[in-house]
């Protein structure tokens, strides 16, 4: 296949794969916990880019059906859209005129999942910081080793670890 076509015609795949690899590299090799999370974000966003770019169609509109067919001026119809949408579209809709909605839907879900994971991971980093005073992986591991050598218990509640008073349920 023509090399130019291969690179330009598939530029979206190149872009998303390069971004994915940057993100993956950060997740694995960075020492700082927050940088790992930034890598995670980049990685997930690159996958989202991959999916969404697959839904593109040359010359197509966004996946919202026009009330009166392929009318160029959308603004006029916006007001009547709510009432007339139901009876406006009698003629067949050309599937190539609108982008594929399915990847958009899937990626809405993926974005939400990514945000949720990021939130939870950030909370975890805060907890690690509160326990060990650092967010660099090597320093944390050193602090853990020191704590173990000094006689801290692993996970069972030790006598010095009094259970928190009261309820953590939201006030």
């Amino acid at each position: 296949m023509d090399l130019l076509e291969y690179i330009l015609g598939k530029s979206n795949y190149w872009a998303s794969i390069v971004l994915m690899m940057i993100g993956l590299h950060a997740m694995i090799s960075k020492n700082n916990l927050i940088k790992k999370l930034i890598g995670m974000s980049v990685f997930q966003t690159a996958i989202i880019l991959f999916y969404v770019s697959s839904s593109a169609k040359r010359g197509a509109k966004i996946p919202i059906i026009h009330p009166h067919g392929d009318h160029a001026d959308k603004a006029d119809h916006a007001a009547e859209a709510g009432h007339h949408a139901a009876d406006a579209v009698h003629h067949a809709i050309d599937a190539t005129a609108y982008e594929n909605p399915l990847p958009h839907v899937l990626m809405l879900t993926a974005i939400v999942v990514g945000v949720a994971t990021l939130g939870l991971a950030l909370a975890m980093v805060q907890k690690v910081y509160a326990a060990y005073g650092s967010i660099e992986e090597d320093e944390v591991l050193a602090a853990i080793a020191e704590a173990t050598a000094n006689g801290a218990s692993i996970s069972m509640p030790s006598p010095s670890d009094s259970p928190a008073q009261g309820d953590v349920s939201p006030s």
């Binding site: 993956l24 879900t109 939870l120 996970s155 069972m156 006598p159 928190a164």
Partner: protein, 515 residues
């Protein structure tokens, strides 16, 4: 109405969890009753579903969510909504998940106020939602829906581990990083497949792949398969990507450990089986892709590494965690041996390993509770001090070693059969060696229990994890009940191995499209 009962397995715990969030945020006493109630109903619904499928001779229950039936045949017959499919094997796994969660709740009841003080309701919500995620993953027939439920299970497990003290947060963070890479690889693999096939419904994807030799030969489908497998292996702690598991399950609060250790990795294996059998199809995987030698070899390394690392551990829970890594090796190897005996063996092993891991983890938690020690010294005189827990531990240990009539024996039997039939002698050897190593491991423990000796001489450093005498507790009665149920299950699943294997065979053949 009975059409809707399978859905209750998912809906009742879900509504229980949100109900707690809605009404009981400041009433910690409500946590356990709701957990018991919701899981009890879920278990009953799962058993009902299983009995219905067995009664109907192994039929498959298909359910279209949101009422969208497939497109009419003239318009291609494809699925436009999401559907789920339950066959005999899935139904067994559903019963397993809900039952283990329910029995574990007996133990949870004793520990929740101590290990998660002030956060009981939050813990209960996460607990119930983990069960929802796991059950949903098992029955869904849509590749993307599987991803969403995978993430629900993952997020709840991250939180159930991170809620613990001390090292739990760091262990959970590592789990988050590895788990997210795994889930994202899975998503990428599904994306690659979607680009070539155009649908997300597992059955439809299989149809398209079977029909098109060109697709089967293409690099993108191969890479998709690779990415999906890699993602699932990351999530099931397949060696060498197992690093997150020992720390995560050791430092988590003990009820979390005893819930997740038996279930999470096994459900990932079930998903892997589903992907192999239903999505790609065994003939594609074994005739066209020639990965079997590599993967079975990797599995053998996993088995040996897991067993030897377990042998090297001095901490009880760490030892059990490495045994899980070895068990995952059994399952991945057995699945990729690829013949009917192998796959049936893996499916049966999912059930049996879950039971025995649960039994061992629960017994270990009870022993640690009673003796205050994390290390093997905890077993000194255990048969007299903690008879119920020690007996349950013994049953679990026999199962791990592979002695009849426990389920471990029968699952090893099927796996060995599969390995021998396929001529995978390194796999057979690895299984036998690991049984030997397990025997050494557990008999060492029995020696300590019966004769009170510890082989490794103490070097004068005090056991840093030993708890002072006044925190030791007698094992609560409810936990004893749980231990007895777990031990009985290990033996029962073993004795029932013929009917279970029969139903598994039916289920997997039923869905495996001819060819």
């Amino acid at each position: 109405m009975s059409e809707q009962i399978p859905l209750l397995i998912l809906l009742v715990p879900l509504l229980g969890a949100v109900g707690l969030g809605l009404f009981a945020l400041r009433r910690p006493a409500a946590a356990m009753p709701v957990v018991f109630g919701a899981l009890g109903i879920a278990v009953l619904a799962a058993i009902h579903t299983l009995l219905r499928i067995v009664d109907e001779g192994g039929s498959v229950i298909t359910y279209n969510l949101a009422g969208w039936d497939r497109l009419p045949e003239r318009a291609s017959g494809k699925a436009i909504g999401i559907e789920y499919k339950i066959d005999a094997f899935n139904a067994l796994v559903l019963v397993l998940i809900t039952a283990v969660a329910l029995v574990n709740a007996l133990y949870l009841r004793a520990r929740i106020a101590v290990e998660c003080a002030g956060k009981e309701i939050l813990y209960a919500v996460l607990y119930l939602l983990l069960v929802v995620g796991l059950c949903g993953m098992v029955i869904t027939n849509d590749a993307f829906n599987l991803y969403v439920l995978l993430e629900i299970s993952s997020l709840t497990s991250y939180a159930l581990i991170g809620i613990g003290r001390r090292r739990a947060a760091h262990a959970s963070f590592n789990y988050i990083i590895t788990g997210t890479i795994g889930a994202s690889f899975y998503l990428l693999g599904v994306g690659y497949l979607y680009m070539q096939v155009g649908t997300l419904n597992i059955g439809d994807i299989h149809e398209v792949l079977t029909a098109s030799a060109e697709l089967r030969a293409s690099a993108s489908v191969k890479v998709a398969c690779m990415m999906i497998m890699a993602g699932l292996w990351l999530k099931m702690a397949m060696f060498p990507m197992h690093g997150w598991l020992p720390n995560a399950y050791r430092y988590a609060p003990s009820p979390s450990g005893s819930l997740m250790a038996p279930l999470v990795t096994k459900v990932m294996v079930v998903v892997m089986l589903r992907v192999m059998v239903n999505l790609f199809g065994l003939d594609y995987l074994f005739a066209e892709l020639n990965w079997r030698p590599v993967i079975v070899g990797l599995a053998c390394v996993a088995i040996l590494a897991g067993s030897l690392l377990a042998l090297a551990q001095r901490d009880l829970r760490a030892m059990l965690c490495y045994l899980i890594v070895a068990e995952v090796g059994y399952m991945v190897g057995g699945a990729w041996v690829g013949n009917e005996a192998g796959i049936t063996g893996v499916a049966y092993h999912v059930l049996s390993d879950a039971c025995m891991t649960f039994c061992l983890f629960l017994a270990a938690a009870a022993i640690i509770l009673r003796t205050g020690e994390h290390r093997l010294g905890a077993f000194r005189g255990a048969f007299q001090r903690i008879p119920v827990a020690m007996t349950a531990f013994t049953v679990g240990a026999f199962s791990m070693i592979g002695l009849p009539p426990t389920c471990g024996f029968f699952s090893k039997w099927y796996l060995l059969q599969g390995g021998i039939e396929a001529g995978q002698w390194h796999y057979v050897a690895a299984l036998l060696i690991s049984s030997l190593v397990n025997a050494v491991l557990f008999f060492r423990i029995f020696e300590i229990a019966l004769f009170g000796k510890i082989e490794v001489p103490e070097t004068g450093v005090r056991d840093v994890d030993a708890l002072p005498r006044d925190t030791w507790e007698r094992v609560p009665a409810a936990t004893k009940v749980g231990l007895v149920v777990a031990a009985i299950a290990v033996i029962a699943v073993g004795l029932l191995n013929r009917p279970i294997a029969l139903w598994i065979g039916k289920a997997l053949n039923f869905i495996e499209v001819a060819g």
